[in-house]
């Protein structure tokens, strides 16, 4: 036996009640569960998990870590949040198969859609692959986290059709070529196909997958069916009727080709609650028919961030403010707020929205002087300055020459009771985190911690066992990830050990760890003690990342 986890409280991923036992790990696999004899323990490393939950490693089914994996085989900070397997390549965008002549096109698309800076590619990426197989070989060099990669539909079209991929439907010959190419990707390790019905590229034109006819998607799903692989789509999530149509379309594809399909995201806001009811009713109906259509729901609420330099619709109710921000340049905006008379008029107009200003959090500044204030509410900063939140917001914006960024937290997907019900629904997959994307706007990490802190501890919407099941065994079963997602003898030892009373996502902050001196918003993990991947310690709270290359393509 190589390693023993002693005296932990095991929630095995099946949803069954937790129990206290030891776990023995031999040759990367769980070899024993129960009380271990002294003889059996001899020579083995030991982790004391007394008082902690021992769970299967969490699986994040919707990420865009494709680029980050090229310079960071751990996809930080995913592992420290307890995630042991990620699925990159969503929404029609993977980084292979990709001919050299299309590399900059992909860089542009990743910049536009996932906010990955151009410089991160130019300084962090050596382009030494074209095929999917070569990309897999490339990322496997120092992989710490498990990866179940999708092949992007937009990439297949680009490979086969070149620039025509963004202009027309494919010919029958081209569709057949895409099918052969998808098969090669699957043989090389692709876990399925991703497509998009909504995304725009760097020229604000539809991404290549959006030019596909239904026959093309049908043909590609036939290939998925032959190999029992999954179809992921990003659909028209902002429109109930279109979402209903996509559910039906995916159900038909699922039944015809015997495949699993998933669509993301599904949000629940005050204005679309009725729509979500209708969508879930349709999902339930299609699932009852035997189709496999899994909507993904994220745990975290949606925040809104803004600065004075870019007009935000938050100011649309203030005509003078909005006109100033929309039709003035930076110097003119600064000048308006510096003029005492104009400032007084603007302040007067905005007084009615004081509750909003007071709740805003200062999330980013340019100057060192104001750096200590980042993370504080405007009410708190104002109190220290002897001013109200509105005046403080204006002052900070002027001090930072409009480079002060503010966050209005929990503005959407924020009805904890309703979202909790949705997460608990047996036909909902917990996912849609977008991990690794939107890095310049907000943090997409820590959704699993938030699941436990908000929906298990605070709201009691899910039991601990059910929450773990939904992000481990359920996800593994849906995605066809074998031998993972459940703590049972014979399974691969991907294990997360955490404190159930404290597991959470930390405060959002930004770090400068993107190649090319780029920054991104992240959240640290709270309450996750150790994470094992493939039987090896990948992260511990005390010592950080081990950088052991234990990650697998799954």
């Amino acid at each position: 036996m190589d390693l023993i986890i002693k005296n932990g409280t095991i929630a095995d991923g099946t949803g069954a009640p937790r129990f206290v036992a030891d776990i023995g790990i031999t040759n990367h696999r769980i070899s024993h569960i129960g009380e271990l004899t002294e003889g059996a323990q001899q020579g083995a490393e030991e982790i004391d998990a007394t008082g902690k939950i021992v769970s299967p490693g969490f699986i994040d089914p919707h990420t865009h870590f494709d680029a980050q994996l090229l310079w960071d085989g751990a996809a930080k900070p995913a592992i420290e949040h307890g995630v042991t397997t990620i699925v990159p390549g969503n929404c029609s965008l993977s980084l292979a198969p990709l001919k050299a002549e299309h590399r900059m096109k992909l860089v542009g698309m990743f910049n536009q859609i996932e906010e990955m800076p151009h410089k991160a590619f130019s300084e962090g990426v050596t382009w030494d692959w074209e095929t999917f197989d070569e990309y897999i070989t490339r990322i496997q060099r120092d992989l710490t986290i498990n990866v179940a990669p999708l092949a992007g539909h937009s990439l297949l079209r680009l490979w086969v059709m070149g620039n025509d991929a963004m202009a027309r439907v494919a010919t029958l010959e081209e569709i057949n070529a895409m099918c052969k190419l998808l098969e090669q990707c699957i043989i090389a390790g692709a876990t399925g196909l991703s497509t998009s019905f909504v995304d725009m590229d760097e020229r604000l034109q539809p991404v290549p997958s959006r030019y596909a006819c239904t026959e093309e998607l049908d043909a590609l799903c036939s290939v998925l069916g032959q190999h029992q692989k999954i179809l992921q789509v990003v659909h028209e999530f902002y429109d109930t009727d279109l979402t209903l149509a996509r559910v039906d379309q995916l159900a038909d594809l699922s039944l015809k080709h015997n495949i699993t399909t998933t669509l993301s995201p599904l949000f629940l806001n005050a204005d679309n609650a009725r729509g979500v009811e209708q969508i879930m009713a349709r999902v339930d109906e299609q699932m009852a028919r035997g189709a496999r259509v899994w909507p993904q729901v994220q745990t975290r609420p949606i925040d809104i961030s803004f600065c004075f330099e870019v007009p935000s619709l938050l100011f649309m109710r203030l005509p003078t403010w909005y006109a100033l921000m929309r039709f003035s340049n930076k110097e003119q905006i600064i000048s308006a707020f510096e003029d005492p008379e104009r400032r007084a008029a603007l302040v007067s107009e905005a007084q009615s929205m004081m509750p909003l200003w007071s709740a805003l959090v200062l999330r980013r500044v340019e100057t060192a002087d104001n750096l200590p204030l980042v993370g504080m509410t405007l009410e708190a900063i104002g109190a220290a300055r002897g001013k109200n939140a509105l005046e403080t917001m204006i002052d900070l914006s002027l001090e930072e020459r409009l480079g002060a960024h503010f966050l209005a937290a929990n503005m959407g997907h924020n009805d904890d009771h309703a979202v909790g019900e949705l997460l608990r629904h047996p036909n909902v997959m917990i996912g849609a985190s977008d991990g690794g994307a939107h890095i310049l706007s907000f943090s997409t990490y820590g959704d699993t911690g938030y699941l436990f802190s908000k929906f298990v501890r605070d709201c009691n919407a899910l039991s601990l066992e059910l929450a773990i099941k939904k992000i481990t065994a359920d996800t593994a079963n849906i995605w066809g990830i074998k031998e993972r997602g459940e703590i049972k003898v014979g399974n691969i030892a991907d294990i997360t050990i955490f404190d159930p009373a404290n597991i959470d996502r930390g405060e959002e902050h930004y770090v400068q760890d993107v190649p090319g001196d780029g920054y991104r918003y992240v959240r640290d993990a709270l309450g996750v003690d150790q994470v094992l991947i493939h039987g090896k310690l990948a992260f511990s709270q005390s010592d950080g990342y081990t950088d052991t290359p234990c990650g697998q393509i799954v």
Partner: protein, 105 residues
Amino acid sequence: MINPQTQFCPATSFLWNLPRLNLLPNKINSMTALISHVHLNAAHEGIAELIVTLTFENGGQSQVPLDPNTSSILMSRCQASDLSELIGQDWTHIRDALTESFNSN
């Protein structure tokens, strides 16, 4: 049954409890749809977006999300200085705003 939240925090409460811009016009011309409701929403990319509700002559409704640029163009096209002035406007303004926004990129 999923119930919409009415109040959670001061900021959220403020936005959702703004004076309801939900004034259905007395007459709806045939073969058209009019803007009957407008409110702000949090888009998944972390920005505010406008949700415009259209009401058709048969009472059916649909919602159209608009990004900040398209929203501004819509306001200009409707010569509206306040969101309430969008109520009762014809759906074609939205179509034209979307077209202008798309073509300007």
